[in-house]
Symmetry: C2
Subunit: 584 residues, 2 copies
């Protein structure tokens, strides 16, 4: 090693020892004849000192040439500092340097490499390797490392076998768009990169692997939104001979283990809620349970009083913000404007303040009597000091709008603490959802999800009402994982494909291998996949997954650091039997 | 769970307990009124018993319908067997079944699902999910699982950070052929799949990650040989502030840890050998050290005696097979034929038997006197009973031929025991190797490998003589891992690209980001990558890596189970701005 110790480990115990450190120059202070250098590595910061009186002149001159981010190796004696720095673990000592070697000089970095940086997003992406030098960024990836190790530790202890499934697989039109890979040796044919190892993990259950997991890259060629990446990582799992309850308890166990081992947080039992209740009470299939503020439906107390907007609405529904009656008119107007923005799309907002003196002041006082408003307050179980906010309109739409308003109020009132974690199982998802664009039903989870037995008769009459054995794990309003009990017999799988609009031929061409496998003794099985990037972000208290990916792509799917994607040579195209359909 | 116990865990202790098992029917024996069923899962085999006298008729009838590989759930009482089977851990008990449920019927499998199967290679690949049901196959993947976990345990304990590097990267013409992925959002441009995360791990060193590892899929679009797969797995590692010695000791540590924890084998210290010595003494840069049989050069004692073939040869070189003097004339002729096959390419073979009586009988007695042959024997340090085998010709070629002969003799004489492990570091590889096809030098390891400082002056005069700071880990004649100390400054990297025939512009276009990174404070660093598939095969005692991959591709790069690669829809091509250059 080019060092005897790291920059994070020396203490008073080592005083008088001769040591060699290597690292990056974080800072140089030159007091003329006395130079301090903060030397940094992944493990910490240690102060080097060069003194005119005791050092050779050449050494001092060399130290004077050091700039930020130079890579140096320094040998010297550990001494006790006269003025100690109790902010860093090595703050009691410094190194009186005897020899200094510049291992590599550095140009002035394009942005400041400290926790607070002056680098903009694009600049930091282009020089990602410098951004990763910042402690706050590196620590996020160290958190990710720890989560990976602890995930595997738990899964291994639970007898899961880690199996690597192939990356070069087969393109299927169902679901999101595939990335494809032209095959040179099979001209005109393509591999696809997996959106998930779904069929392979099911085949492993058919193989009797019993318990499978993998932390695996998956790929989706979608138009990127802020928090999507074309390649992302899943904790992918599958179990045989289980029912839904077994999956929930096993992965509740994983979640608790991760919180406990990585964050020192002991989670309570994970709450459970049906999809129907989540929509009814939170307008959202991933409710943030860090705060209550449940939806209250007001049709009975708010309709028929001559207020046309409510009278004509399918649903009048509101939330009660505890202790927010002090909101000013200006704040309430701003809230009204906020819900009326096109992204939310509400037509307006009604409020009713339950004042501290017991009176109620609403924005629709001319339509509602004091008794009417008291009836609202009872419905909300409101108390003096609370603020009731009410939206109305088409039921599905208004619930979505109110969900956004609820989250905003939670945020504004400081109820969404990043250090509080409220996990939730959302269950009994619909099997199918109607897609306006294609004019047909799509699988809400995926085509391999089993319907609830008692709902199968509804498949023909009312497909949208069929519930699936499907569940999501939600933490703090973020979907962290989702899974289902799978179909494990050919007949049901065929039925499912039929309802998804596959012809028998298409189903056979794309998934014939899976249906055939079901005929050779497939056990009942089910599983789950966690979005690992998002899980890390939740643990780290961030909204963006990008910080938790070492080398992310930007919103156009480019890696601006290596400048990829890029053009390739004509010979490569020829070998692959493809041509560009664009002008270059 | 659909079971209270697995099929591997019940013992006499559980007698009289009511249990529920689930699994696959391995075998049914029907003695009329008495039916035994062997029920199998990943954990073992348990015998179920159905008796006419005590079981309901319906139950017995149901048991009679069971066929091989049916998936069933059985509830009953654990009883002691009258005739115990001490070959299986559950052999002391059986389950007297009360209720039986067929969870899934099974068609007759296309081959026998036992350790010894009648299924041919192709059939087993098409039904890989059934092949994986065989214990011998599943155990290989469980070994792989264990090796993954133990690798991570060691690396984590050594402070390495596991970082996932991107799969969608940039195509570079250096090295093997890339798989490429057309970008939809950047028409006419392509990502490439990584042949290794090389540049990313080096950038992580520039970032100060200090120690990185990853168990990662890599991709190479090569014409497949028997033991190559288009996607394969590496244990990929990199360390900063190290010299070669640190890498060797760290990964010698990993190797020992794996042998100890996975196989219970305590390795001796790993031997070391220069590339030059490996070629001189074994004709091979990955010598199998399970047996000695070193090359002995005979130019001095064999030339100038009138035997034209030797006299005209650049090199006369041989091996001494201990105790093989008993080889018959027929065996020796067969060996001669073997070395003359086109795959080996020798012109002939000379032998000399050192008989038990002290006489020496050679195939060239008419050219060599007894004293001459005694001189050969001395050179070989041969003893009575040994067989000397000698080839001659062009030095490079004859070494390769003799290497093959040495390995064959080792095999024939039973010296290559699969349960003996002889690891070896081969060091000081040449930096460059001449490529006849392209008429230029190529990087023997890769273009980021550093030359030995003292050899840099030779770069212009004698490029082929420059040695690199590069090393391979070889076990039993198989290259398991390879790595190098990297270049970490721009000037040397530019020099290297120049010598590899890159124009400045090409170097900048392809690796500009890396050279720029070197200017911002790159530490000295180096690393290694292990071929994980091959490492698993060595541990499992197999020659083929395919057995250690859950879903391998065949020699044409096809997955015959899912039938991939396959054609994709015209709309997909259009979206990707590409066209086929082949008729479909």
């Amino acid at each position: 090693m080019l060092r005897t110790h790291t920059c994070g480990e020396l203490r008073l115990d080592q005083v008088n020892q001769e040591v060699t450190l290597a690292g990056w120059v974080q800072r140089v202070r030159n007091k003329g004849g006395l130079i301090w250098v903060d030397l940094r590595d992944r493990y910490g910061l240690t102060q080097l000192i060069f003194e005119e009186e005791s050092s050779e002149k050449a050494l001092l001159e060399k130290a004077e040439t050091l700039g930020r981010e130079f890579v140096v190796q320094a040998t010297g004696t550990v001494i006790e500092r006269t003025s100690k720095n109790d902010k860093i673990p090595t703050g009691a000592i410094e190194i009186k340097v005897k020899t200094l070697e510049v291992l590599n000089a550095a140009k002035v970095p394009p942005f400041i490499i400290e926790d607070e940086t002056d680098g903009g997003d694009e600049l930091r992406m282009k020089y990602r390797y410098l951004d990763l030098r910042r402690n706050v960024v590196r620590e996020k990836l160290q958190l990710r490392h720890k989560m990976m190790q602890e995930t595997r530790k738990y899964m291994d202890a639970q007898n899961f076998i880690e199996v690597e499934t192939p990356v070069l697989i087969k393109s299927t039109p169902e679901g999101a768009r595939d990335f494809v890979v032209p095959s040179r040796t099979n001209p005109g044919e393509f591999y696809a990169l997996p959106q998930s190892p779904q069929t392979f993990k099911q085949l492993l259950m058919v193989s009797g692997f019993d318990r499978y997991f993998q932390i695996v890259k998956c790929f989706r060629d979608e138009d990127l939104r802020a928090d999507r990446q074309p390649e992302f990582t899943q904790i992918d799992c599958e179990m045989a001979f289980v029912d839904q309850e077994d999956i929930l308890s096993t992965f509740e166990g994983l979640t608790k283990h991760l919180f406990s081992s990585v964050k020192g947080v002991e989670l309570e039992e994970v709450k459970r809620m049906t999809f129907a209740d989540a929509m009814k009470y939170y307008g959202n299939d991933k409710p943030d349970l860090r705060f209550d503020m449940k939806f209250v439906e007001l049709n009975e107390v708010a309709k028929g009083k001559g207020f046309g907007i409510f009278d004509n609405a399918e649903l009048v529904v509101g939330i009660c913000a505890k202790g927010a009656a002090e909101y000013t008119r200006k704040q309430l107007d701003a809230l009204t404007d906020w819900v009326k923005r096109p992204q939310i799309g509400a037509k307006g907002m009604v409020y009713a303040k339950y004042n501290a003196d017991g009176t109620i002041k609403s924005s629709v006082d001319k339509f509602y009597s004091t008794e009417d408003l008291q009836a609202w307050a009872s419905a909300f179980e409101a108390e003096p000091g609370d603020l009731m906010l009410i939206l109305s309109g088409d039921a599905d739409k208004v619930r979505k709008q109110l969900s956004e308003l609820r989250l905003k109020m939670g945020e504004d009132l400081g109820l969404r603490d990043r250090n509080v974690f409220k996990p939730l199982w959302v269950m009994d998802f619909p099997l199918l959802e109607w897609d306006e664009e294609t004019g047909r039903y799509h699988a809400m989870h995926h085509p391999f999800t089993s319907p609830k037995k008692e709902d199968i008769p509804l498949l023909d009459a009312d497909p949208g009402a069929v519930r699936a054995n499907a569940y999501d794990l939600v933490i703090n309003g973020v979907e962290i994982g989702g899974g289902s009990i799978r179909i494990h017999d050919k007949a049901t799988q065929q039925l499912m494909f039929k309802h998804l609009g596959f012809s028998e031929e298409e189903a056979q061409k794309q998934f014939g291998f899976l249906m055939e496998a079901f005929e050779y003794g497939a056990p009942p099985h089910g599983g789950i996949a966690f979005g690992f990037d998002r899980l890390c972000a939740i643990f780290g208290g961030s909204d963006s997954i990008r910080d938790y990916i070492a080398f992310p792509k930007n919103n156009s799917g480019r890696d601006v650091m290596i400048d990829s994607p890029s053009s390739i040579a004509d010979e490569q195209l020829t070998e692959l039997s493809i041509r560009l359909a664009v002008k270059e």
